[in-house]
Amino acid sequence: MGLLSDPSRRKVLTGLLTRLNTPICIVCYLAGIVWFMGLAFEPFTLRTYMSENAMGSTMVSSGERALSLAKEFDAHKRQAYDGMPVEWLVKAMQSRGLEVFTQSFSRKLPFPDENKERYMVRGTNVYGILRAPRAPRTEALVISAPCSPGDSNNQAVGLLLALAQYFRNQVYWAKDIIFLVNEHDLMGTQAWLEAYHHTNITGMEYSPLQGRAGSIQAALSLELSSDVITSLDLILEGLNGQLPNLDLANLFYAFCQKLGVLCTIQGKLQRNDWDTAEGYTHAAQTMMLMVLKQACGRSWGDHGLFLRYHIEAASVRGINSFRHYKTDAATIGRLLEGMVRKLNNLLERLHQSYFFYLLPSLSRFVSIGCYMLAFGLLVVILLLRALDLWVHLGAPALAAVEGVTEAQQPSGPGVLTVLTPVVISHLTGVALYLLPVHLQEMAVEHFPVSETEAVVLTAVAIYTAGLALPHNTQRLLSGEGTEQGWKVLKLTALLYLAVLLGCTALINFSLGFILAVTLVPITASMTPHMPKALSALVMVLLSPAFTVLYCVFIYQELIEAPVSVSEGWMLFLSVISQGILDHALYGSLVYPLLALFIYPCWLMFWNILFWS
């Protein structure tokens, strides 16, 4: 007989499973955490390398007058009251031989943001197309520079125009190059992309694009805020934690090395002492920053919105950190020109290198094959627990069959007993998702708060109100909850959580992993028989909202700007409002996931804790 169909052998296996369940779970959890932290350890990482054959050796020189253009742009921007100097840009691009078009867009925000402080946001994008002299207009590359109010990013626009002038004189372009200056950062980019691809996913209103250039192969976004640059930072994390192809990062790094420019990732420099403890801490910090940035699901640069359309994009930000060694605009121009020229040599979209990776540094990477195991070890705990519960649930049935039928056991808990907590938890989740935005007017009427604060505080209030639920659902149920009842509920909830976390990790590993780290221990070990007060405290401290709070504090620590508790709390509230806004404006999925799925799941376990 087979291993699983032989009853005696099966009994041995199940006995082993039930006996060793807790030790195995603890070992798996520790192994998962250790594996994750060990990913940054140098011998376990691989050196980055160019996978794309078409991007061979390329190197040319150029010279531009970028700085003077930047000053002109700044002057015109001030004239236009910190808006976009559209006419000046149009004239400047046209004089460089580009085909210039403008696009206007407007969007009604769900609630006024701290930055915008108004409901309606209007803007104009200006873009110029450099047509390839000999090629058909089938492919394009995009170089964009966001136009921000105030002093920032003037140099990027100046560099853009200087590059446009230089590119216009070359004959070797095989793709059209689009120079885009967008207003309102992400919103402008979103409007432009939606108009370019003829979609409307986020409800933005925009005028259609008059000029178009073909399928976009790659995009670069520039952010240069000062005349003097000492290092260039590469930003890869995009919307919903999507990352561009690793070849783009490799390209950037290759050019940094060739030109001798100081390049950073997550704002941290490269180190050479990988074997030492400091080297490891540095790499681990860089990796943790990437994980946190990826988990929060917002686009950390204008490039993040391109990724949704399968356009590989990255942002390059110039940083002035007051070192002695400074890079001038000509070198940065050469770096960008080299990158664009190599992207010009591409025959297909970038696809040879990895799409899922973590970077402990610019020269080393961890691929999905390596890091997924850490998450797998955590989810296996949930499955083991579920298996254990299944065995326990099946055992009394066996006893009833083999032994004499004794006092009538209920055949199983009624469907209603299990379904009710599930439905009520999900309804609470729906309330958490919908009500904050919809009830903001009512909240503003009754309380002396601004709209943003109203939204966020409503969310927090609904979250806390959910904690009171178990006492209410018990009154709803007619009968008593049985021993079997909570077990079935826990089984369902464990499997549900495992599926949820698994799906999340496939799309956004960092989000899945962070949620797993805090949720798995409490959910796996939760029973109604534990001491109520202590376990209630632990559950609340490890709930999704507090996970977000801890992430905020850890993030601030890692970027070397630690905050006090009150500042941290304010940051936490702003993170919540940003999450809701990102979801409404760009389609970020973190807030709906947390509100509609993770929070109800956690509420189900909260119900189990208070089962009686």
Partner: protein, 382 residues
């Protein structure tokens, strides 16, 4: 004293008698060399198996060999050139309508008289094998056929991306070494060649000639099994590598070869040792019936007409008598005539070298060609 005198006189008389005899031997060996190689015409099949901009160097390789072969006398009608031909007019080419083989864009091997017989997507394994074996549909034009006979010496040059036992054609198909060996066997059985020289410049090129089994084949490869053939120089203006190392040094060697040169195959085997090429070139001569030392380079790379210009009648039925007039001391008559370079590549390439060293050598070379031009003009007017 007397004896010494007698001996010297005796030796001198012997010498006088043997000089004409030696000279007739010389002429006889020269006449013997007339028919030593056994071929009467030359063909060349030059194939570049890659396309796309980043494989620029393969096209430059093939075109450089094409130029050398044309310079040494093989006409376009006897060359089958197979290229993807997407370099010169590629959108990424900063110098349109050119293909350069030397850095600093010294030498444009594309020019305006390149005749590409199979271009673009016509460069396939099937077309290559059909060209070799002659099994082409009747509508195929002559320029696309290899119309060789049993007295043809054929040069076959392949370049591209290869592996252990195969060569990749245009990113979509492969030819294996067994297929190639069988194609050559078909050629032998149909008497389509007299002798065949096979040169391949790819990674692991030696694996392609391992399986040959037909007679009269000589093969050279740029690297052994397990080694990669490396590219030579990147050009910063064009942005790609221009040539492969092996073909670069092969061409430097061929620059010194002119239609009347006596360089033989052993010199060719020494081209590009490992110190220069990083990979180890290999060759195979066991199927070849002649000794490689007696095989001239021009037997395969050039189409040398066995022509000796003379104003005297030579009676071949009787033993050749030394033409007494020739023992004079005129400059022009001792020096044998050579062909004018079609495209003085060596002068262009080595212009820089001339400036640094060997000025006199270069100048003498230039003087000779100029002198010949004048002589030809004189003969015509006379």
């Amino acid at each position: 004293m007397n004896y010494c005198n007698l001996i010297t006189i005796f030796a001198f008389i012997n010498l006088l008698v043997s000089i004409p005899h030696g000279y007739s031997n010389y002429v006889e060996t020269k006449a013997g060399q007339f028919f030593s190689s056994g071929h009467t015409n030359n063909w060349a099949v030059l194939v570049c198996t890659s396309r796309f901009w980043f494989n620029y160097r393969h096209v430059a390789n093939t075109l450089s060999v094409y130029r050398s072969v044309k310079r040494l006398g093989i006409p376009d009608s006897h060359i089958v050139l197979m290229l993807a031909d997407d370099m010169a007019c590629n959108y990424r080419n900063p110098k349109p309508a050119t293909v350069f083989s030397h850095k600093n864009m010294e030498l444009n091997v594309y020019g305006d008289d390149v005749e590409v017989d199979y271009r673009g997507y016509e460069v396939t394994v099937e077309n290559f094998l059909r060209v070799l074996t002659g099994r082409l549909p009747p509508s195929t034009p002559r320029s696309k056929r290899l119309l060789s006979d049993d007295r043809s010496n054929i040069l076959i040059y392949l370049t591209g991306h290869g592996g252990n036992g195969f060569l990749k054609f245009q990113d979509s198909e492969e030819i294996s070494n067994m297929e190639l060996a069988d194609a050559f066997e078909q050629m032998w059985q149909k008497r389509r060649y007299n002798e065949l020289l096979f040169i391949i410049d790819t990674c692991q090129g030696a694996s392609m000639y391992e399986r040959f089994y037909s007679p009269n084949l000589m093969a050279l490869a740029s690297s052994q099994v397990g080694e990669d053939s490396l590219s030579h120089q990147p050009d910063l203006g064009i942005g790609v590598h221009l040539m492969d190392k092996y073909t670069f040094y092969l061409l430097e060697f061929l620059e010194e070869v002119h239609p009347a040169s006596q360089a033989n195959m052993n010199d060719l085997f020494k081209v590009c040792p490992q110190s220069q090429c990083v990979s180890t070139p290999g060759h195979r001569t066991d199927l070849f019936q002649r000794d490689p030392g007696s095989v001239l380079i021009t037997d395969f790379f050039g189409s040398v007409r066995k022509v000796e210009i003379t104003k005297d009648t030579i009676n071949l039925t009787s033993p050749v008598e030394p033409p007494i007039k020739r023992s004079g001391s005129s400059d022009i008559q001792i020096e044998s005539l050579t062909y004018v370079d079609q495209l003085p590549v060596a002068e262009i390439i080595h212009q820089q070298d001339c400036l640094e060293a060997n000025v006199t050598r270069c100048r003498r070379k230039q003087q000779r060609t100029r002198k010949l031009n004048c002589q030809v003009v004189e003969k015509q007017t006379a």
